[in-house]
């Protein structure tokens, strides 16, 4: 705690002024001396002179007394003036208080008025609120009525909707039935056509077979004719051969008789035998051909009979017409086949349509179930509302009864308003009854309608709407699929980008950069280059020194080899010593110089560090003393010989200080040895005796001293400022310098 010094100096000046003032009454003023004129009196005799002198003395004494009185009166006057001032100040204070209280009273009155106004406002507001609340209640009642009407309208709408949906369902059912019938008819038609087709196919097959047979037969007839011809030819040939054989046999016989050579005859015989053999085969062939001929004849007969039978169908028996007929029938068959295919396709399409319809039917059934449950819920809700309405009706009936009772009781005070009210209530009741009846009717209508179409009321939605919904659903599904695929691709992209980011981050962490666009710069004069150049220089110097030393060594070896006596002279002779000095290279000297410089720099650096440490130490010591001064209230000065001077921050004078020294044992404990002022120390005898001598506690002594000093200075300015920068304490007694810790 520190207080400005000007307060103390002001007090001092005041006291000095008062001292001066107090001195005045005892000193004769120059003006009084000058007023007494002794030359004005002329003494006639000694007595008179003496009397006059005594008178003068008495007058002087009286004058002095009067002066004293005057002084006292003046002092009294001053004191009275002071009192008067004080009283004036008091009066002013009281007047201020009066004004203050007057203002407060005014404020209170104002606030009272305000409160009254507020109260009135609040009352008005409350009245307004009550009014508004009443209005709200009315509004709510009206709302209730509106809601009821709305509810009725909704119910009506719902019933209409139900009816319309039911109608639609019936229509759809009818449509479905029609469709089913159509499908059945189509099935029947397709079956009949299939039968027809099969029959025609069978016929076609048969005709085809017949045609084949016919063709075969026609070819066979040709063959038979050729065979017949061949057979005839063969038979003729055989006959010729037989004739010839006979002729030959005749000739053989003749020749046997005629020809001498048997061999020739034998050859001829052999040839004839061979021809006979051929004849046998020919006979066989002829037999076979005859058999074939007979079979063909039989077939021919059968074909001719068949052709006779088919004369009605086939106009002419010519092969051309037959072939034509065949071609036309084939065309017919193809056309029928095409038709059957188209019919089959139609059947398939119809099947697909049926499947679609079945699925739709399923969906509609599902929807119907949902609708049914919804309607059931609504019915339940309407039942609940019905119950509530019944309750309300009961309540209203009760209230009506009570009104009737009141009416009976207060027939004399019966007002037209009440009658209106009752009429209104009766109307309301009637409306409620109607509403209830409607609800009941609805409830009863809804149930049977639903029960009428249990199996096919699912088609209660428009097919167009369904299609739209299906198309929308498909679109959504496709959109979802697209989005999923997109999402997957984006995820992959994200993965790739994450990997890329990781790779790039690693590259950044390694400190990689684009060498083409970025230039790496450094300041030429940077700490690293300084260090490295220093070291390089040193290394170079050492290397050159080493080199020089080597060369010198070689030279020396050479000299020693040439002049072996020089060695002794070199070591002993002073002149030769000069030569040995020359032996060392210049570089080593330069190196040493460089090293010296470095060492000097190091020393300078160390000194710099020492000064920095001292500065730090000084700052820290200052900080410490500041802390001690502000916390414990004593300025600590470290004197020579380990003595310590303590000066309290509350001490009245600068020399009011205490000097401590360490114990003889020098164990860190202190003892009080002296003070800055002996009188001051004497004034503290009691404290020292009590705390230091008897109890041996310097901290307690210092604390009690601090308490005493602060007690003394409680009315005046407290504490003194410590100029921490210069190590001075400024206070009442001026500044005192103390040595700083350096």
């Amino acid at each position: 705690m520190s207080y400005p010094p000007y307060q103390r100096s002001a007090k001092k000046n005041q006291s000095q002024q008062s001292d001066q003032h107090n001195d005045n009454p005892f000193k004769p003023t120059a003006s009084t001396k000058s007023t007494i004129n002794f030359t004005a009196f002329s003494p006639k005799n000694d007595r008179e002179l003496i009397e006059a002198r005594t008178k003068i003395k008495s007058l002087e004494i009286s004058k002095d007394n009067l002066d004293l009185k005057f002084g006292r009166l003046e002092a009294e006057n001053k004191s009275l003036e002071l009192k008067n001032r004080e009283l004036g100040l008091q009066i002013e204070g009281l007047e201020k208080d009066k004004d203050f209280y007057y203002n407060r009273e005014k404020d209170a009155l104002k606030s009272l008025e305000n409160l009254e106004l507020e109260n009135i406002k609040l009352k008005q507001a409350a009245a307004c609120e009550t009014q508004t609340l009443k209005d709200k209640i009315r509004e709510l009642q009206q709302n209730l009525e509106d809601l009821k009407t709305e509810n009725l309208i909704k119910e009506n709408d719902l019933t209409r909707k139900v009816q319309s949906t039911e109608l639609e369902a019936s229509k759809l059912q009818y449509q479905v039935e029609n469709l089913n019938e159509q499908i059945r008819q189509q099935h029947d038609i397709s079956a009949s056509r299939q039968k027809l087709l099969n029959e025609t196919q069978q016929r076609l097959d048969e005709t085809q077979e017949k045609l084949n047979e016919f063709n075969h037969l026609s070819t066979q007839l040709d063959q038979i004719e050729t065979h017949n011809k061949k057979v005839q030819e063969q038979s003729e040939h055989i006959q010729e051969l037989e004739l010839r054989n006979r002729y030959l046999t005749k000739e053989i016989n003749r020749n046997k008789e005629l020809s001498p050579s048997i061999q020739i005859l034998q050859h001829k015989l052999e040839r004839a035998e061979y021809q006979l053999l051929n004849m046998n085969t020919l006979r066989r062939e002829a037999a076979e051909l005859e058999v074939e001929n007979t079979t063909l004849k039989k077939e021919k007969v059968s074909w001719t009979s068949l052709l006779d039978q088919e004369k009605d169908n086939i106009n002419s028996n010519t092969p051309y017409t037959v072939v034509k007929e065949l071609v036309s029938r084939r065309n017919e068959i193809e056309l029928l086949q095409i038709r059957t295919r188209s019919l089959e396709e139609q059947v398939r399409n119809k099947d697909l349509v049926i499947v679609d319809h079945e699925s739709k039917i399923k969906e509609l059934r599902f929807k119907y179930k949902a609708m049914e449950s919804k309607f059931l819920n609504e019915i339940e809700a309407s039942k609940g509302s019905k119950r509530l309405l019944q309750k309300e009706v009961e309540m209203l009936m009760n209230s009506l009864r009570s009104y009737d009772e009141e009416e009976k009781q207060l027939q004399s005070n019966f007002e037209p308003q009440k009658t209106e009210r009752i009429q209104n209530l009766e109307k309301l009741l009637a409306e409620y009854k109607e509403a209830l009846e409607q609800c009941e009717n609805k409830a009863t209508n809804i149930q049977p309608k639903h029960e009428e179409y249990p199996e096919f009321s699912e088609l209660n939605l428009h097919s167009l709407e369904n299609r739209v919904i299906f198309s929308n659903v498909n679109l959504f599904f496709s959109a979802v699929k697209d989005l999923k695929t997109e999402n997957a691709s984006l995820k992959e992209k994200i993965m790739l980008l994450d990997n890329q980011i990781d790779i790039l981050e690693r590259a950044v962490g390694r400190g990689e950069y684009n060498k083409e666009t970025i230039r790496v710069l450094e300041m030429k004069d940077n700490p690293a280059s300084k260090e490295f150049s220093l070291r390089e220089n040193r290394l170079q110097g050492l290397a050159t020194e080493n080199q020089d030393l080597k060369t010198k060594l070689k030279e020396l070896y050479q000299i020693l080899e040439n002049h072996p006596t020089i060695t002794l002279e070199l070591t002993e002779d002073n002149d030769s010593e000069k030569e040995t000095i020359r032996v060392f290279p210049i570089q080593s000297y330069l190196n040493l110089e460089e090293e010296n410089k470095q060492l000097i720099d190091q020393v300078a650096d160390k000194e710099k560090r020492m000064t920095r440490l001292k500065e730090v130490w000084k700052a820290k010591a200052q900080e410490y003393r500041e802390a001690v001064y502000s916390l414990l209230g004593y300025k600590v000065e470290f004197l020579e010989n380990g003595r310590v001077r303590l000066t309290s921050m509350y001490s009245e004078q600068d020399d009011h200080s205490l000097v401590f020294t360490s114990d003889e044992d020098n164990l860190g404990t202190m003892q009080l040895v002296d003070g800055g002022n002996t009188e001051y120390i004497k004034s503290l005898d009691n404290l020292i005796k009590y705390w230091v001598v008897e109890r041996g506690s310097i901290p307690c002594f210092l604390s009690s001293l601090t308490m005493d000093l602060i007690g003394k200075t409680a009315l005046g300015p407290i504490g003194r400022e410590m100029d921490m920068t210069s190590g001075r304490i400024s206070g009442l007694g001026g500044n005192q310098e103390f040595p700083t810790l350096e």
Partner: protein, 215 residues
């Protein structure tokens, strides 16, 4: 708003942003040099900055070096020609790079909402927010002593500026090696961004355990 006044305002905001970034570099570099014991602790004094007690050098040579460096860096940032500022700590004996403090400077293009870094398009930051971000980085630098390997040998440092090829380079500056650490470990520190700039910080370091042949 006329085009000229708009330009003037942008210029003012750019200069303000550059000043913030350069000031951050000054305190960050000082903090690193103190925390990594490149200079003895008595060469630093404590200063209140960003709501923290930050240590700043009192060594004249270092002060003048940093001042020269940062004035040029400021010029480059204003011109938008600098992309990285790197403080490399190296062994004096063998010149091995032990640590590399990398500050990436990104320019935020507010006009086109297309920034060169990821900080663009955001709402304007208040001074307090920027201060808090810088405070967080300084705290991280202080805390980095816990995970960075101890620098046992005598170390020195060098500061590199990664500029564009077309940047004006004063005579006091020269091309340098990027001082890259082989197979480094790296830790990304926090970043801060002003209206015009975003500064990311990364410290990469060599794990001596794996490379030291003595072990």
């Amino acid at each position: 708003m006329s085009f000229e006044t708009k330009n003037i305002r942008e210029n003012i905001s750019l200069k303000g942003s550059t000043k913030i970034v350069v000031e951050f570099f000054e305190f960050a570099l000082n903090s690193i040099l103190f925390q990594r014991a490149i200079y003895p602790p008595e060469d630093f004094k404590m200063v209140k900055k960003y709501g923290l007690n930050v240590l700043v050098t009192i060594d004249d040579s270092l002060k003048s070096y940093l001042k020269k460096l940062l004035t040029q860096v400021e010029v480059w940032i204003n011109a938008g020609k600098i992309s990285k500022l790197i403080l490399a700590i190296m062994n004096v004996e063998n010149r091995e790079i032990l640590e590399r403090w990398q500050f990436d400077i990104q320019i935020i293009d507010e006009e086109n909402k297309e920034n060169k870094g990821p900080g663009g398009g955001k709402k304007q930051r208040t001074d307090q927010e920027i201060k808090n971000e810088i405070q967080a980085i300084i705290r991280q630098i202080t805390a980095s002593v816990t995970f960075l390997p101890v620098l046992e040998d005598e170390c020195t440092f060098n500061i590199l500026a990664f500029t564009d090829k077309d940047a004006e380079v004063p005579a006091e500056w020269d091309d340098s090696d990027p001082l890259i650490i082989q197979n480094p470990e790296y830790v990304r520190l926090r970043s801060f961004s002003t209206k015009n700039h975003k500064v990311d910080a990364i410290v990469s370091y060599r794990l001596g355990f794996y490379d030291d042949p003595k072990r």
